[in-house]
Symmetry: C2
Amino acid sequence: MSQKPNTQVPEPASKDRLRLWLRLLKASRLVEAELRENLRQKFGATLPRFDVMAALSRYDEGLKMSALSGVLRVSNGNVTGIVDRLTEEGHVVRVAVPGDRRASKVCLTDQGRAEFARQAAAHETWVDEMLSSFDQDEAAVLATRLDHLVTTLTEGED
Amino acid sequence: MSQKPNTQVPEPASKDRLRLWLRLLKASRLVEAELRENLRQKFGATLPRFDVMAALSRYDEGLKMSALSGVLRVSNGNVTGIVDRLTEEGHVVRVAVPGDRRASKVCLTDQGRAEFARQAAAHETWVDEMLSSFDQDEAAVLATRLDHLVTTLTEGED
DNA sequence: CAAAAATATTTTAAGCCTAAAGTTTTTGAT
DNA sequence: ATCAAAAACTTTAGGCTTAAAATATTTTTG
């Protein structure tokens, strides 16, 4: 029988998961802050507007407002404001949907498409620099692992 | 000599790093959204207010406003508003700093400390559930890897 | 067909966030 | 001692974000 009581209790897994979450949050906030700042300085743009243009760039026919908020996982009212500003800038247009006067499709203009191409190229460079401490294999492995996490977090809601 | 031209060019590392960043961002946004929603529903609280209380809970003597915004990496004006709301709720107090009438230290009240303890326990449980697909070792390894990333991202600025 | 329900979107109120400007107080250099 | 610079903090203006309410239109149902 051991004479000394075991005062060295093992750390529960929840503590390691909490630490993982805090690091994940800190890392993504740091990268995001740098991207926001770069977009602001180099293009007078914002990350939400970039995100909307990125989503639209994958749909030549445009997206309805509700589809846009669904893809981006933000509220409808949020998208309204961002599309308003992109419209003022001439980067997108609202196009009436034939047969449904409630809805409109949002499409990139030619100007918006050209501007997004410039921003996306710079964006990829910035990310490549910030994550340069990951070699290609490590980046691929970790991306796949996070993809699994995203799947578990989102399954049973769509 | 090979007769066929090599049309299958390798993917550059920047694409894998971009994919990693997009997954990292999506995962952290999903977790964060769930935590925000839980804090709102279960405690009528918000993540920024939780973050401020978490920072204060590590400093019994309280923190000056500027130290608080430094720890949290947010702007001074931002902290002003959040501390105003926490003060209205009775969770924190501004205490005058002897010898410097410009500054004040923010301290958790007893009520704030008790409330934070409840929220922090729930928060750890929520994170543990959301990241349950990571076993303890994987969580520890990945947390350490992200810690290195955070270090490279922040070095040469503090 | 008319009323009710559902859908698409915008508006509103409140909070979060930043950069920049403003206020008050302290420090430092002359 | 004075006075300019620095420091601590708040205020402001503008944008992002949500939940909830409001508006307009379409679909369903009795």
